[in-house]
């Protein structure tokens, strides 16, 4: 007589690959934790750099500081993609693990499952939205910057909880040989199957390296040739890429008008300068990177009038905070605030030229802000007004 068996819902025992061992998970997890830690810390730096009037002024030196931190932010996020996928693969059977029967264990188990659900959801969210944002793709309705920032706290919090809960297992797994079976579930197969554990780990490190090499050229100039998936090749008008064009921001007419005047205002004192007036002032040349929040960056040599010299025309005291206003009528980068330490820095310029040639329209003609160690989104283009509150 034939017996009918109902198909069974799979559980943890059905996953028998020798590779799904805590010794593998912990080793991949260490590097995943490093990537998330780096992305979190550099993300905090970027948040600080973009806060209009922070209680602790963002430093102006080194001038390439933000270029490095934001480059690391995007590179760490990209490196986390293979690490996260491999790590989730090694623990996938946990998804179908049966809950314990004892009430106390059940509560602890439930709490741990919730913390892991939060961690996985936040981790995937951060990587997906970060990578899409870096390529200027916004297929969502939420406000990217504050939401990415809020989820960073949720992801890092859930990660710290996860590490704390798993600490004894992590410590035992890292302390044993990768081929040790002491910590494995009893239903795992013995011995290397298709690939050894060391083989999987090496492959994961190579995958991480390939993901970084394929994208990092957007910010590391000597990788430009190999970064086949880089958001930018690093070229553009006057050798520098642009983020938003003059056409996109609707400023072509205002920026090219002969009637253009830069207004510098301090209370009721005002100076109005034509482009010729600006060019006639003592000019400073400085090599400063343009480093975008989206992770791309490029070095360039800028020539222009120090903002401090313009503020002196209307008798602004040192250390004053300056509101920089663009001719553009919309867009997040229309306004930016220069903290006193930035406004007074001798290399904070209203640039008129890039690499010895007049600024192109897309780089902010007739003049743009360029300051050391500052996110590109705050390097206001097509500047029409500098205002200091009294």
């Amino acid at each position: 007589m034939r017996t009918m068996t109902r198909p069974r819902v799979p559980d943890e025992r059905d996953f028998t690959s020798w590779l799904r061992s805590p010794t593998v998970t912990a080793r991949v997890g260490v590097w995943l934790g490093v990537c998330f830690g780096l992305a979190f810390v550099t993300g905090l730096v970027s948040h600080w750099a973009q806060t209009p009037s922070p209680w602790l002024p963002f430093p102006t030196s080194p001038s390439w500081g933000y270029r490095v931190t934001q480059g690391v932010h995007v590179i760490a996020g990209t490196a986390a993609v293979p690490l996260l996928l491999v790590k989730l693969w090694t623990v996938f059977p946990k998804l179908v693990a049966r809950p314990p029967k004892e009430a106390r264990d059940l509560v602890l188990h439930g709490l741990e499952r919730i913390s892991i659900a939060v961690l996985v959801a936040a981790a995937i969210f951060q990587l997906v939205t970060g990578l899409a944002n870096a390529a200027q793709w916004y297929p969502w309705r939420f406000n990217f910057r504050p939401t990415h920032y809020a989820l960073a706290w949720i992801a890092i919090g859930a990660l710290v909880v996860h590490i704390a809960v798993k600490l004894p297992l992590i410590s035992a797994a890292l302390g044993s040989d990768v081929d040790s079976t002491a910590l494995d579930r009893p239903t795992l197969e013995r011995g290397p199957g298709v690939i050894s554990r060391r083989g999987l780990l090496r492959t994961t490190w190579v995958a991480t390296g390939v993901a970084v090499l394929a994208t990092a050229g957007s910010t590391v100039p000597w990788l430009r040739k190999v970064s086949v998936l880089g958001v930018r090749s690093g070229t553009g008008p006057q050798g520098v890429p642009i983020n938003h064009s003059a056409v996109y921001r609707g400023v072509v007419a205002a920026a090219t008008s002969p009637a253009y005047r830069l207004t510098v205002a301090y209370g009721d004192r005002q100076a109005r300068l034509s482009l010729a007036d600006l060019r006639a002032m003592p000019l400073t040349t400085a090599s400063l990177p343009i480093a975008c929040v989206e992770g791309w960056s490029a070095g360039a040599t800028w020539t222009g009038v120090p903002v401090r010299a313009l503020l002196d025309l209307v008798g602004t005291p040192g250390g004053s905070e300056v509101l920089v206003e663009s001719l553009q009528e919309h867009g997040g980068e229309r306004l930016s605030t220069l903290a006193g330490n930035v406004a007074d820095h001798p290399h904070t310029l209203l640039a008129l030229a890039l690499d010895g040639e007049p600024l192109s329209l897309d780089h902010g003609f007739p003049c743009r802000l360029i300051a050391p160690d500052r996110p590109g989104v705050l390097q206001t283009k097509w500047v029409g007004r500098l205002e200091v509150a009294t």
């Binding site: 990209t78 993609v81 996928l85 491999v86 989730l88 693969w89 996938f92 913390s115 659900a117 939060v118 996985v120 959801a121 995937i124 969210f125 990587l127 997906v128 939205t129 990578l131 200027q136 297929p139 969502w140 939420f142 406000n143 504050p146 939401t147 809020a150 989820l151 960073a152 706290w153 992801a155 919090g157 859930a158 990660l159 710290v160 909880v161 996860h162 590490i163 704390a164 809960v165 600490l167 011995g191 290397p192 298709v194 690939i195 050894s196 083989g199 492959t203 390939v210 993901a211 394929a214 994208t215 086949v228 998936l229 958001v231 090749s233 070229t235 008008p237 890429p241 056409v247 996109y248």
Partner: protein, 147 residues
């Protein structure tokens, strides 16, 4: 260990709670859209991607002898994540006609070159491992000649 773990759980819960407060502060419409993407990401990974990986593994184990699978596992572990990470570039979803400096590479060509190089590298590695294993007559820890 106990104190460190308790401290870790406490700190983590506080940090996550701060994140939740920041998120809710952005308004309900923002939170709703965020929740949709949070749940969507997990569903896409656990419900679609992970299931596809299992299905591919099951089919491959039936069709290809076990000791021939290692190079393909290595190639896929390298290429699938980098391809997923490159979706915004390969699709050029954020491209705009007024900005030729954005998404300005021949992405599919670059991707094809990368795939070719990785597959070639993996195959060369597999042949070398097989020869070395044959000469030694023993096992090799890259697993390409595993059982």
């Amino acid at each position: 260990m106990r104190v460190i773990r308790a401290g870790g759980v406490g700190t983590g819960v506080l940090a996550a709670a701060y994140g939740v407060w920041l998120l809710l502060d952005l308004g309900w419409a923002n939170t709703r859209s965020t929740l949709l993407w949070l749940v969507g990401g997990v569903v896409l990974h656990d419900g679609v991607f992970a299931v596809l990986v299992l299905a591919v593994a099951l089919v491959a184990l039936r069709l290809v002898p076990r000791d021939r699978l290692a190079p393909w596992v290595v190639a896929l572990v390298i290429l699938v994540p980098v391809t997923l990470a490159g979706i915004p570039e390969l699709g050029r979803f954020g491209a705009r006609p007024d900005n030729p400096t954005l998404l300005d590479r021949p992405y599919w060509l670059g991707w094809s070159v990368m795939v070719t190089l990785v597959v070639a590298g993996v195959l060369v590695g597999a042949v070398a491992t097989r020869r070395r294993t044959a000469v030694r007559g023993g096992d090799d820890d890259t697993g390409a000649g595993g059982r």
